[in-house]
Subunit: 199 residues, 2 copies
């Protein structure tokens, strides 16, 4: 006989699809749902449907948005554009409350090994935005990840934008705050030397 009755087995299977969730964790999640009140379970299910249905991408910047244009693009000046790989990077930066400009989400990075070239990510959209703005864009901040693909993408875009006379910057690399020199990874430590600041 089978160990799980069908509705439990099915729910465990669905939870297993979530990142980092194995059989045991999926089982715990399923038990939790079974012990929820009917209202709670319904709310959970509706939140999934609603997220799938109501989360779109902003027509201008590619960020998560409920409407055609996201809340950031609606209210902020587009003097400065921060280029990121994914919508979740926008959320990470927004949480800082440091940055006041707009974003541009590439939805990927150039990665020849995975067959992703410059035309497969939203670089054209960025160039179109800059052209449409007619000289009002003052700075483009490259905030792609500090890995091989992120660096390559940043370089590629920089080479396209710099000739337009727009300032292009890259997030600083170096030692993370709070680390011990002894335990810092070698690449970051080396970068911290190269990019050292005059005091």
């Amino acid at each position: 006989m089978k160990v799980y009755i069908e509705p439990i087995g099915r729910l465990i299977n669905e939870f297993s699809k979530l990142p980092g969730v194995g059989a045991k964790t999926a089982q715990r999640f399923a038990y939790k749902v079974i012990n929820m009140s009917e209202t709670e379970a319904k709310g959970f299910a509706e939140a999934i449907i609603s997220a799938k249905k109501n989360v779109h991408y902003c027509k201008v910047c590619g960020n998560f948005s409920e409407g055609e244009i996201c809340d950031v693009c609606k209210v902020r000046s587009s003097d400065t554009i921060c280029v990121v790989k994914e919508p979740k990077d926008v959320i990470a930066i927004e949480k800082l409350n440091e940055y006041n400009g707009v974003y541009h989400v590439l939805h990927g990075t150039i990665s020849p090994l995975d067959g992703i070239g410059p035309d497969d990510i939203n670089i054209k959209g960025l160039l179109a935005r800059i052209a449409e703005a007619g000289g009002s864009v003052k700075e483009v901040i490259m905030a792609t990840n500090p890995d091989v693909e992120g660096e390559a993408t940043a370089m590629y875009i920089t080479n396209l934008i710099k000739p337009l006379g727009i300032k292009v910057s890259r997030l600083a690399h170096g030692l993370p705050i709070g680390t011990d020199l002894e335990y810092a990874d070698e690449v970051s430590l080396a970068r911290a030397f190269v990019d050292r600041k005059t005091l």
Copy 2:
């Protein structure tokens, strides 16, 4: 401005209710749902609703069941009854493919500190089953957890059933298979000495 748009914030909030899921993990889960196809997301939501709606408790033993009586009670002989704390313990034992009798789920253990007395868990149901069976029950296996509440509950039920002339047994305690003596916890090691077997 808020960091998350409403449908994402809501979904993250729902995922945070799952056991062991913090804000960061809930966020990862939410991104995963947003990247699912519409069909996948719908299937996920339906599995939650279905589990809540179609998982009931067996009228006889208290195990998870789709119908009034669970698959175990339907087909197995009730000579031997294995008493467990929760329905998930039934699943843990069923996975072994070792046990062929029926179960009785207490839905809790006696815990005076939490205000849970013998009348708050399903002990009456067990006694009624034994009485109804009219002497056909040969053995009751106490498979509550090896902790204070589990031991107390096992003792309490044993004292009620033993006078009826039914064999009552308890799962063996001792060293888990595969451990090093050096690293075994003291209580288990002590129990392994007390309950040592003649070879």
